[in-house]
């Protein structure tokens, strides 16, 4: 098959992206999820934290997803979990994006001994299990943040301190791969002619970094960013599953799954407590991963389709 127009500039990114049906499906799934997570509570009168006497009631018209051990409506809890997971995933990924890009840019651009030192540091951080770093970051920031939040806005944010810490510590740990990718790209770019030209025209290092290097990096970085979001969501749920993340009565997919896994026993299985959070979480991660994959294919000029 003759590959059409290999040398011509490729058609628009969106056009290439949405050639894949999975990209469409992902966008639809994600928008449905966002809509129901944020608009759903307007139509539901169930409170995700209000207990009732209806313990472990199976799915019914009043409670479409059933109720949990305290008689709380599972649907509204799953939607609350969606809000928290999306919030933590997006903001954590943005924090990691900022740190990783800055670190990789400096390391690659300065080069030499600084680069060697910075990259050895990344390797050592890789060798320490990530979980240790996350949990320690957790313990270090927890008291500091709690103190500051108590003073801010009459302590109205104190209930969100665990979520903020999750965002901070996950973002502070998840940047390692991003830094390596950015550094590799900078190394490849910085000796190219357009950078040399910019330098010989007398542009400063900052100008070269922001005007010339950063725009060229953005494609790769954005792809990796879409893949970081599900990774952060996964970490958050994992911590919440272990009981370290989001604290009750707030619900996260991880803590809902932990509750669901606990009540799986041979006597009676409350399957809905496991199935619904599992489906929501897997569908979200699947859609995000698909989107990242398709985006990478669409941006990759070597990709022949």
């Amino acid at each position: 098959m003759p590959s059409p127009a290999k040398s011509l500039p490729p058609p628009g990114l969106a056009q290439r992206l949405f050639k894949a049906p999975t990209a469409w499906a992902s966008v639809v799934v994600l928008s449905l999820l966002v809509l129901s997570a944020f608009l759903g509570p307007l139509f539901l009168d169930a409170d995700p934290h209000a207990p009732s006497s209806l313990q472990f009631s199976p799915p019914s018209s009043a409670h479409p997803f059933g109720t949990d051990v305290n008689g709380r409506d599972l649907l509204s809890r799953v939607l609350e979990g969606a809000r928290i997971s999306l919030l933590v995933g997006l903001s954590g990924a943005l924090v990691s994006f900022t740190i990783g890009t800055a670190y990789g840019l400096v390391s690659g651009y300065v080069g030499g001994r600084v680069d060697a030192l910075m990259m050895r540091t990344v390797e050592v951080l890789y060798a320490i299990p990530r979980l240790i770093l996350i949990i320690i970051a957790f313990f270090v920031f927890d008291p500091i943040l709690k103190k500051h939040l108590a003073d801010l806005w009459e302590g109205r944010l104190i209930g969100y301190s665990k979520i903020l810490i999750l965002i901070l510590s996950l973002g502070l740990i998840e940047w390692l791969t991003m830094a390596r990718i950015v550094r590799g790209q900078v190394l490849a770019l910085k000796n190219q002619q357009f950078v040399l030209a910019a330098r010989s025209l007398g542009q400063s290092h900052l100008q070269i970094i922001f005007r010339h290097l950063l725009p060229n990096l953005l494609g790769v970085v954005v792809v990796y960013l879409t893949l970081t979001v599900p990774a952060v969501i996964l970490d958050e749920s994992f911590l919440s599953f272990l009981g370290l993340g989001v604290q009750p009565p707030q619900a996260s997919w991880g803590s809902l799954l932990a509750d669901g896994a606990q009540v799986i026993n041979p006597v009676r299985s409350y399957w809905w407590l496991l199935i619904f959070p599992a489906v929501f979480m897997s569908a979200t991660l699947l859609a995000l991963n698909f989107l990242g994959d398709n985006l990478r294919d669409a941006l990759d000029p070597r990709q022949k389709r």
């Binding site: 999975t22 050592v124 060798a127 240790i132 770093l133 313990f139 599900p230 991963n289």
Partner: protein
């Protein structure tokens, strides 16, 4: 050759030392101590406890003392599991976790390579699409979702396999499958993309044009080269699987060392944590060395000294 191994040994010692140092100071400097959780204890007793676990004196003294003990092969006492040494705890947990991890590793490696090769050989077919869809789905279902679901379906609804426990050969299957799922998917994706790249190279066309059967082209020529990136992924993967997973071991009630990581951090059990990190790091470096040796076996153009 000898100089290659010697240099690797030096860098291993350097990495191990920095990781041990970092872990030690991170845990000791983190807020809270190993004995601060319980009810307030009288200072005299606390002093005694600290002395018993060699946690008294300045931080730097504790550190140099500890390094000295490490050189003698003594990983010291756990501060949480009183009177049990870290050597003992790891000696109990590691074989269990390693056995489970090894099963998962075999499933992931062979399943992944098979799935990935089939997908690459039938590129653009429904088989390719289905296996890659399946792989991404496996990546998107974390172990703490897959584990309970598998237990629910195969353990309770169908009643084919035990829901948990350790000892009988059939009880290893569900946890091993849970652990292997995402790993298998990564292996399959890597195999597919790498095999596709190799299959488009000139020497494959030469092999085909001289009349070699398709199966021989793939097995004798393509797969060997295509496995290189897969092999380099398998090193860290094996280190991860062999040291156990807290989620799978908690879900299926397995007495391995997967929980040591998390619990020792939460209990500020500094010696247990460093001990586990040493095991992990040694496995990681050792397996990466094995990967490099395998590289030179799979592709003779790669030399170890390079």
């Amino acid at each position: 050759m000898a100089s290659f191994f010697f240099r690797r040994l030096l860098s291993f010692i350097l990495v191990l030392w920095s990781v041990v140092t970092l872990t030690f100071f991170l845990v000791r400097l983190a807020p809270g101590g190993p004995f601060s959780r319980e009810r307030k204890i009288p200072p005299a007793i606390e002093q005694q406890l600290l002395a018993r676990y060699k946690l008294n004196g300045s931080l730097f003294e504790q550190y140099t003392d500890y390094l000295g003990d490490l050189l003698k092969g003594d990983l010291r006492l756990s501060t949480k599991y009183r009177d049990r040494s870290v050597n003992e705890l790891i000696g109990d947990g590691l074989p269990v976790s390693a056995a489970l991890g090894f099963c998962a590793f075999l499933i992931a490696t062979f399943g992944g390579i098979l799935l990935g090769s089939v997908a690459a050989l039938r590129q653009h077919s429904w088989l390719d699409a289905a296996s890659m869809l399946g792989a991404l789905a496996l990546i998107s279902v974390p172990t703490f979702v897959a584990g309970p679901l598998l237990a629910l379906v195969f353990g309770l609804w169908l009643g084919w396999l035990p829901v948990g426990g350790w000892g009988q050969p059939e009880s290893i299957l569900l946890p091993a499958l849970t652990l292997a799922g995402p790993a298998m998917a990564y292996v399959a994706r890597l195999t597919r993309s790498s095999l596709l790249e190799v299959l488009s190279q000139d020497f494959i066309r030469t092999a085909r044009s001289k009349g070699l059967a398709d199966s021989k082209v793939v097995l004798r020529h393509a797969l060997k080269l295509a496995l290189l990136p897969v092999v380099s992924f398998l090193g860290p993967l094996a280190a991860n699987l062999l040291t156990g997973s807290i989620v799978v071991e908690t879900l299926f009630n397995i007495p391995g060392m997967g929980g040591y990581f998390v619990h020792s951090i939460l209990n500020r059990d500094v010696f247990l944590l460093t001990g586990v990190v040493i095991v992990y790091c040694t496995l990681l470096v050792g397996l990466n060395l094995l990967v490099d040796v395998l590289y030179s076996v799979l592709d003779r153009r790669i030399q170890l000294d390079a």
